[in-house]
Symmetry: C2
Subunit: 164 residues, 2 copies
């Protein structure tokens, strides 16, 4: 049966019922939401002088430096050729440093600068302030559960998502 992978049929029926018997596809619900969220983010980021990919790079590097551009590209789910322009801009703006590894001059050691960190955190504060306004639509309990669930699902590997 198609629903045999569920923890229990009762569970399934319960949340189907919660949805009024017609559950919408997850992707169909979330895709427009994400599109809107990004559309809202763009002008905020522009006001901080950074692009969407630039923000993704800064966010990754704010957590920890990265040894190669290819690794950075993979971390943000992009092609290595796609982030080169972004890195050029960020470097020119002084938001990241990008130096040849003395031990292997083919690789580029990437890290965020103090200015980059400042820009990223300022942008994030503005973005999350917007998100807070949306999250205020939810009950406190649902809001916490939603953030927890989003966190859980977003950290699943592509393999987990695609199925064994």
């Amino acid at each position: 049966m198609i629903y045999s992978c569920l923890p229990s049929v009762n569970e399934y029926l319960q949340y189907m019922t919660d949805q009024g018997g017609e559950r919408r596809d997850l992707a169909a619900m979330l895709a427009p939401l994400v599109r809107s969220l990004i559309a809202i983010e763009l002008p905020v980021l522009a006001a901080h002088g950074i692009s969407m990919w630039g923000y993704a790079v800064l966010s990754t590097l704010d957590d920890s430096p990265v040894r190669t551009q290819a690794a950075l590209a993979e971390a943000i789910g992009a092609d290595k050729t796609r982030i080169i322009g972004t890195l050029d801009e960020l470097q020119q703006s002084g938001l990241i440093s990008r130096d040849p590894d003395p031990d292997d001059r083919r690789a580029r050691l990437l890290s965020i600068t103090p200015n980059g960190r400042k820009a990223r955190r300022s942008a994030r504060a503005a973005i999350q302030a917007n998100e807070d306004r949306l999250l205020a639509e939810l009950s406190p309990a649902d809001r916490r559960a939603f953030l927890r669930a989003a966190q859980t699902l977003s950290t699943l590997s592509p393999e987990d998502l695609a199925g064994s």
Copy 2:
């Protein structure tokens, strides 16, 4: 203050704490998830002989017919020129009907056919079975809250999302 739009500062602090003090951006969490969900959907849809946009069209028309192509395009968040090829395919496959409105022969009355409805529901069952596997990662309470929250947020108008 940047967080003044929150229901209460205490609430904010509470879910920040729940996230370990470092909440990730919503878009940054959800965008890769949605990308993966769509990547999983595509082969399922292909097996049913419909494209992603075709599925969006069928889903909209399954709820109710639409009087013009422009209205349909807006409903699925696409440009009116973008869905023409999709409508051609769906019509040729006999999944939708698309007839000039007798009262205004400029407009095209769009509706789903019985075969289209069958295809859509079959595809949806397969897609939701996949999603169920992912949702099984969540606790029952979180799963219900997540679906409820996604439903709530996804039905906000772009104006609500963008802010007053």
